[in-house]
Symmetry: C2
Subunit: 335 residues, 2 copies
């Protein structure tokens, strides 16, 4: 089945993807940190059987201990699991839909971390899918829930809705104009946070940013989503305006085509250089300067990450071999 | 008629071109430095009528005063006249064959500077053509000639045969290996000189070098040519060996394709960057790594020089416009 990132979504020139993540815990079990492997496996089995009994879903159940290191890191590169979860073994499991739009980490920080991803800006749609799956589990298993507080989570920052809504944005023009720190400071006053695409503390690579709600307490899911959506649409408008200004400069058009020329011809390509060049090319594609579809670029960004390459190519077992395989794949994808 | 540089010549992977230049003066006139415009025009008319009467040649007669600045500099860029001659006006003229293989400067430093160019390594052939034209003039006009010394020239360094035989070589691998200063010192002991492609005192651009005989006194033309040819063939062998070694490195292959990618995609391209990148690409073409014919690259190098672009494009009247026109022409030539 085709992966979610093959599609171009709403505001797809700038918005890469939308993610809704719900944290849930089962009432009758301690948090995972207090559970041994047998206890975790019991939690995992309960959630698995509930969801698999539901039917109509195209889910796989993956035990983390069965994955190689590159397979696990590749899942993190595709944002299907957290980077920390990639190191988990006994007692940690993943439920994954075949299009990779639904991924459910079992016994990460919480018993259940249910995540739905969609291409482009699709907060309501993603929340709707997450909510339906949440209801399926809620119909069978008793959640840890407090009428006053809401959902109980191990980390107090998630208490309440325990929902994190995130939107991944490609903001090359605002980055170039030096606007990002100002914007980060502005959105933080609105209860949102902007960070690099790889989550907390990460540097933005390829001018990719993740904006998400910070507040989960005293606010409904709908309000949190509406707030986030409104700010995202403002950022999108600002990026479009900045990009329109930037590309008027013939030197910028030149830069875009040079980046494309290197990507289409290089024989060796590191991840860092790839991310830098593909960001420039994506700006050109988003603004119609070059005719590569942005969804093809999004797909390439996912597939060209190091562990994802190594997981797909047995010979990519060292950086030099990986750089050659990456260069070849990039050439083929863009030619 | 197709220009001489459209053809691939002998040793064409490394040898760009061969040039024979004969300096001659008419016995009954003082050297040009001592002639006024009327006197120069008289010399020019005599040579012109002699050569044009000969028939079988496809010559144009060009008075330097009739050329624009860019037209004159473009002739120098194509090595059809000396850089100094490009500034000459009244009393200076050029006889040029339609394929640009024969160019005769009239009243440059000497009355006659007869030059024959051929693609690749073709010293004997070029000398043969030059010699025949020389005989045509010699049959009608009396040269300044001394039985003991040979041909008399204004500058004593040309006395004797007054022949300068030059071969233009592309030596990227020897340059990269840091061999050029050693080689320059070696060939100078053999009565030859290596310098940048634009003549005395010029820096090598695009790894292009001109090797020529220094000695014109006490040596026959045939011996000078045989010496030069032997050294050129040794340089060619050394460059091939160095290149074969260099291209084993995957990073070099990568560098060649990246240079090609930038040339095929850039929207702005300065002369300096063009020369740097085309040298890398020519190494790849010469060694069969990329399939662009080297003669096509040679032609591009000639046509992409600044005054040659400006002479061919009226809108290329400033560096930025020229860089855009160059980038477009390079893209079209290499795609």
């Amino acid at each position: 089945m085709s992966k979610w990132y093959f599609e171009k979504g709403d505001q797809g020139d700038i918005v890469i993807s939308t993610r809704i993540r719900l944290a849930r815990n089962l009432d009758e079990f301690p948090f995972p940190a207090k559970l041994d492997a047998a206890g975790k496996n019991k939690v995992n089995s309960l959630v698995k059987s509930t969801l698999f009994a539901n039917g109509g879903n195209d889910f796989s159940y993956i035990e983390m201990k069965d994955l190689s290191r590159v397979q696990a890191v590749s899942l993190a590169e595709r944002h299907l699991i957290s980077p920390e979860f990639a190191s988990k073994k006994d007692g940690s499991a993943l439920i994954l839909s075949s299009d990779e739009s639904v991924s459910i980490m079992l016994c990460e920080e919480d018993h259940i971390r249910l995540q739905v991803m969609k291409s482009g800006l699709a907060l309501e749609e993603a929340y709707d899918i997450a909510n339906k799956l949440d209801n399926v589990i809620d119909g069978k298993l008793k959640y840890a829930f407090d009428d006053r507080i809401g959902y109980l989570t191990q980390c107090p920052t998630n208490l309440g809705t325990a929902m994190r809504a995130s939107v991944m944005l490609h903001l090359p023009a605002l980055t170039r104009c030096g606007q990002m720190s100002r914007l980060a400071s502005t959105v933080s006053k609105l209860g949102l946070t902007i960070r690099g695409a790889n989550g907390e503390g990460s540097q933005p690579r390829g001018d990719m940013y993740q904006i998400s709600n910070q507040i989960t307490l005293g606010i409904t899911e709908e309000t949190a989503i509406a707030n986030l959506k409104s700010i995202v649409l403002q950022l999108v408008a600002q990026e479009r305006a900045a990009a329109a200004e930037i590309i008027k400069n013939p030197a910028e058009e030149d830069k875009i085509f040079r980046a494309l020329g290197v990507l289409k011809n290089a024989r060796l390509m590191s991840t860092d250089e790839f991310m830098e060049l593909i960001s420039v090319v994506r700006l050109g594609a988003a603004r119609g300067i070059i005719d590569t579809p942005v969804e093809k670029i999004n797909e390439l960004i996912v597939n060209m990450q190091p562990a994802t390459i190594s997981a797909a190519n047995s010979e990519a077992d060292n950086p030099a071999a990986r750089d050659a395989i990456r260069a070849k794949a990039v050439r083929e994808a863009l030619s």
